[in-house]
């Protein structure tokens, strides 16, 4: 049984779902951020796998993966800044308490 694209994709799916679960269960805002990172990685892995298994995507896949990595970095920077700000304001990073948008 050779390793095919599907293996990679399933692995990425597992990563994605793990990220989602992390996102949903963590009450800590940083935990949520970690979940997002996981999901982004899943996406990046997907792109890389497609690039490897089809030559026409070889360069595109890499470029987009890099794009995703950069996006993740930017997102992390912004998100952490937001988290710190929120922490400064509310002295808490519990997202259960961050319910100002409640209707």
């Amino acid at each position: 049984m050779t390793i095919t694209l599907v293996h990679y994709l399933v692995l990425a799916a597992i990563l994605f779902v793990a990220g989602l679960v992390c996102l949903l269960v963590k009450r800590n805002a940083i935990g949520v951020l970690i979940g997002v990172e996981l999901m982004l990685n899943a996406g990046g892995l997907n792109l890389a796998a497609f690039a490897r298994f089809n030559r026409s995507f070889e360069l595109d896949g890499q470029v987009f993966t890099i794009f995703v990595i950069v996006l993740a970095a930017a997102e992390a920077a912004i998100a952490l800044a937001i988290v710190l700000n929120y922490y400064n304001n509310a002295t808490s990073i519990d997202i259960e308490k961050a319910q100002e948008l409640q209707g």
């Binding site: 599907v6 597992i14 940083i30 490897r52 990595i69």
Partner: protein, 196 residues
């Protein structure tokens, strides 16, 4: 089982396991550590796929950058009550059901798709080992590499020449904006709070 396959399985196990651990661990510091392993595993997979440049980037940015940021954030906000905030049992149940459902949907979709045309093939010269010249040229918008090594046409795909200079520019500007935004958001505002 060939060596690459074996390595894949090892890396896949590491990545998936530590991802799940990241998700389930209640302590935020542990999550961060498990995340590091996950990132490292993904980097290994990039290497395994033959994309050394990607792998290196992954290691540098994620493990060396983002993770450090996360750990800093954890440290800045680490007060006893926040390090452990377990979710309720019912919450867990719902999340697991949803996660499982999503996984099932994705997996069944993957399995039911015929992946014709997607097979392992030797890498082109551009992305050859220890050589990121092709990638760099692509980023710079050069089509020399492609002219020298025409890519085979993929059925159902529109042939297009990759010019990523524009993408490169967008990334640069994006990063700049993000840096400024982050600096603005994170700056100290004590004076204002005192005033308030």
């Amino acid at each position: 089982m060939s060596l690459p396959d074996f390595i894949f399985w090892c890396l896949a196990l590491l990545t998936a396991g530590s991802a799940i651990a990241t998700a389930v661990s209640t302590q935020i510091v542990r999550s961060a550590v498990w995340l590091m392993f996950t990132l490292a595993g993904v980097a290994g997979l990039y290497f395994l796929l033959g994309f050394e440049f990607l792998g290196a980037t992954q290691l540098l940015i994620y493990v060396g950058g983002i993770l450090i940021l996360v750990i800093f954030a954890v440290m800045l906000t680490a007060q006893g009550s926040f390090s452990q905030m377990p979710a309720s049992r019912g919450h867990w149940l719902v999340v697991i059901v949803i996660g499982g459902g999503l996984l099932a949907v994705i997996t069944s979709t993957l399995l039911s798709t015929s992946w014709e045309g997607f097979s392992a093939s030797p890498l082109t010269k551009q992305t050859d080992t220890s050589n990121s010249d092709g990638l760099a040229l692509t980023f710079l918008g050069s089509s020399q590499g492609e002219a020298a090594h025409p890519l085979p046409a993929v059925p159902g795909q529109i042939k297009h020449i990759v010019h990523s200079l524009f993408v490169f520019e967008i990334i640069s500007v994006h990063l700049l904006v993000v840096l400024i935004g982050a600096a603005y958001l994170a700056r100290a505002r004590r004076a204002r709070r005192e005033a308030a």
